[in-house]
């Protein structure tokens, strides 16, 4: 028993409150779950929010097909362990039937938007939990905890509502939905400190390991179904870990010896690069890259 909540206790309490508000006010919520660290944390908080009852929402993974095997194995294990329902929307299916076209650069992160919106429409999801945090990127600093999306999944800055006290307004018209971000007020360091405190298991690739990687645009990329080295690039064996996990074609590893959670926390605390700047090629495209993608319906 503790009376005074510390920072992590407050953040946990706020996230649990948000999960319960959504359970109380929406008909068909869903949690976006990729097996990455933020979505694993999201699921952990959802489980705590409804304990001892099961989580009253299914999970949705928009699968680029450019996955790290360890992450998919982890995803499926977690789903089975907690008896959850997982929907998978495969970008490949959209490419195969012509609804989407592969990009010249081979990156599939931007292609996730259409399968995500199609799945939301198909399943009539009205609340979609994401792991977005306001400290990640400047365009997210103004994101609401309850973020209204139009019937086209778009984020219209003018229709976003002021968020007062801890009263969330989730009202929406038929066909519209609300993106909900329970981790809005967490920083990257809060996430790692909480993962340590709660003993939350993550895919191994978040910790240092040996991997064959090659340097492109200042990032260490791995080989995979998404492609391999081009002329002038060479595979090298490096000790690396991942700070974020997304589409393998544009998620870079960082050189690191941090083999366990304590070492990772020390490294994050000392790091002088934001996690997106360090590891996501798609955010480097332009200063307003994230703002543009958010308007289109990406997170």
């Amino acid at each position: 028993m503790t009376l005074a909540l510390d920072t992590l206790g407050r953040l946990e309490s706020e996230a649990i409150h948000i999960f319960r508000e959504v359970a109380g006010e929406f008909d068909r919520p869903v949690i976006l779950f990729s097996g990455g660290k933020d979505s694993t944390l999201l699921l952990h908080l959802a489980i705590k929010a409804f304990y001892p009852a099961p989580v009253p929402f299914p999970l949705l993974h928009v699968d680029t097909g450019h996955n790290f095997d360890e992450v998919i194995e982890f995803r499926d294990r977690v789903v089975a362990q907690h008896g959850l329902r997982l929907e998978v929307a495969k970008v490949q299916d959209w490419i195969d039937d012509g609804r989407l076209e592969e990009r010249p650069d081979g990156t599939r992160n931007p292609l996730q938007t259409v399968p995500l919106l199609d799945s939301i429409t198909q399943h009539k999801f009205d609340a979609v939990f994401g792991g977005g945090r306001r400290d990640e990127e400047r365009a997210r600093a103004k994101e609401r905890i309850f973020s209204l999306r139009t019937a086209f999944g778009q984020w219209d800055p003018k229709r976003q509502r002021p968020e007062l006290w801890n009263l969330y307004n989730g009202r929406h018209r038929a066909g519209e939905h609300v993106r909900v971000f329970p981790l809005s007020n967490w920083t990257e360091l809060d996430v790692w400190n909480y993962i340590e405190r709660e003993g939350i298991e993550l895919p191994d690739i978040y910790y240092s390991h040996q991997r064959d990687v090659f340097l492109r645009d200042g990032m260490w990329l791995a080989e995979g179904p998404w492609g391999t080295v081009r002329d002038g690039e060479a595979l090298q064996r490096k000790t690396v870990r991942y700070r974020t996990v997304g589409d393998g074609s544009c998620t870079g590893a960082v050189e690191s010896d941090a083999a366990d959670i304590h070492a990772v926390i020390a490294e994050v605390a000392a790091s002088r690069l934001t996690e997106r700047g360090a590891t996501r090629a798609d955010d480097r495209l332009s200063e307003a890259a994230m703002e543009d993608r958010k308007r289109e319906g990406y997170f």
Partner: protein, 442 residues
């Protein structure tokens, strides 16, 4: 002492607020290398000799193009002493809307003034809104002190004028601190400035690190504790073999504390019971306090659902279907008497009619106008509301979390107003007299 401070910033356009926030982030080393590189690059592209720290916080493309901020942005920084969640509220247009939003969760607000201009009308308006919303503490950052040659007399005059105004709004002197700063040069933001040897107070960051803060719902302004309040969010019924008869009421403690054995009353039904267990995923608690998300189990099997309020039996709020409230109107469409709206209070949403517009706070003259024809965007006024069903209400000045509500448009779902039960500044009507008196202070 709390290790988290939620604060809001407010100031007029061009007071250098973005630069001050950028300076706080920069000097606390909360800006990482790649972000800083981008700012250096963008500053150089614009032909600036030194990095423009306001670029660290001006986020959306439209505001970068215009060089102004358009909405509340949240910033995070930390020192070894405390973590900070900063609501950065812009000052130029829709200022009340933004200030109200930022202030609703703030434990402290930093108001900026330009040392060359001193306390201006907008400073007084911002302070009035912050007082209305019950922000417990104020800091006046007297910025651009370098542009008045670090003049002690100028600072002292501004500080005195502001203290008088804040006192008129109900702040005690120890709740208000004035600090001479230069956000651009860094004087007294994080490090003590050699340019202001006459200033003996803390730097802005020192003050933010050391100021006492209380969790919302823990204590009243006079230091006494608040009675227990618990809006029920969700009923947890696992219906599994292991938890066949489990029936828990999930929620966040809005005010006060609760222990097993406490007598409670469920509102609006008025049924009574006893708390048998405070449950969490980490095990049972012997006590829960304001701010904690828990699940309560009761001795009696009574009908309780989302929207009900559980309160301590011997100090419960009034249940009523008529209320007087102060509204901060946040929508483009105006409010007229007879308007049908939704009121979201705690976890309950009810239909309501605005039966009367009593008065409107005239911000131009810092006075009040009786029986206005309408309430427009960014205006604050007192109204009478009739609710479709009775709701348990506390006065906002008594309990911030259970005395606040949203006014929602039933047709498009937009949030129309921030509602405060009662008149947290009864002086809104008499405010003009006190402010005139305050302004008359040389």
């Amino acid at each position: 002492m709390s290790d988290l401070l939620r604060l809001a910033t407010a100031g007029s356009v061009d007071d250098g607020k973005s630069t001050l926030v950028g300076r706080l982030l920069y000097d606390t080393k909360s800006v990482l290398a790649d972000t800083l590189d981008a700012v250096h690059r963008a500053s150089a592209d614009r032909g600036l000799a030194t990095p423009d720290l306001s670029l660290l916080v001006d986020g959306l493309r439209s505001e970068r193009e215009q060089g102004i901020t358009i909405d509340v942005a949240y910033r995070y920084f930390a020192t070894p002493k405390r973590s900070f969640v900063l609501a950065d509220t812009p000052g130029h247009v829709q200022y009340t809307r933004n200030t109200v939003t930022g202030a609703s969760t703030a434990q402290l607000a930093v108001l900026l003034v330009d040392a060359r201009k001193g306390v201006i009308e907008q400073t007084r308006r911002h302070a009035a809104v912050l007082a209305l919303l019950g922000v417990p503490r104020l800091v006046l950052a007297v910025n651009k002190i370098d542009l008045v040659d670090y003049d002690e007399v100028t600072f002292a005059r501004i500080a005195k004028e502001f203290t008088a105004h804040a006192t008129a709004l109900g702040y005690t002197e120890d709740a208000v601190v004035e600090i001479p700063v230069s956000a651009l040069a860094g004087d007294n933001v994080v490090d003590k400035s050699a340019n202001t040897p006459w200033y003996e107070g803390p730097t802005l960051l020192e003050h933010l690190e050391n100021v006492p803060v209380e969790e919302d719902g823990t204590r009243r302004a006079d230091g006494s504790g608040l009675p227990f309040r618990f809006p029920v969010q969700y009923v947890i019924r696992p219906r599994t073999a292991e938890h066949l008869d489990y029936r828990g009421y999930a929620g966040l403690v809005a005010a006060g504390t609760v222990k097993p054995g406490d007598e409670i009353i469920v509102l609006p039904s008025g049924r009574r019971s006893t708390v048998t267990k405070i449950d969490t995923a980490d095990g049972e608690l012997t006590e829960a306090a304001a701010g904690q998300s828990v699940t309560l189990l009761l001795a009696d099997d009574i009908d309780i659902s989302r929207g009900d309020l559980i309160a301590v039996a011997d100090n419960a709020p009034t249940v009523t279907d008529e209320l007087d409230a102060t509204l901060c109107w946040l929508a483009e469409k105006s409010l007229r008497p007879g308007a049908r709206v939704l009121v979201k209070h705690g976890t309950r949403t009810v239909q309501a009619v605005v039966t009367e517009l009593r008065d409107r706070f005239d911000e131009q003259n810092l006075s009040s106008v009786d029986s206005p024809a309408s309430l427009e965007l960014n205006e604050i006024g007192r109204v009478a509301l009739r609710l479709a069903e009775p709701v348990p209400l506390d006065d906002y000045s008594f309990s911030r979390r259970t005395g606040s509500f949203l006014v929602i448009d039933a047709s498009d779902g937009s949030t129309l107003a921030a509602g405060l039960v009662g008149a947290p500044l009864p002086e809104l009507t008499g405010l003009d007299d006190e402010l005139v008196a305050a302004e008359g202070t040389p």
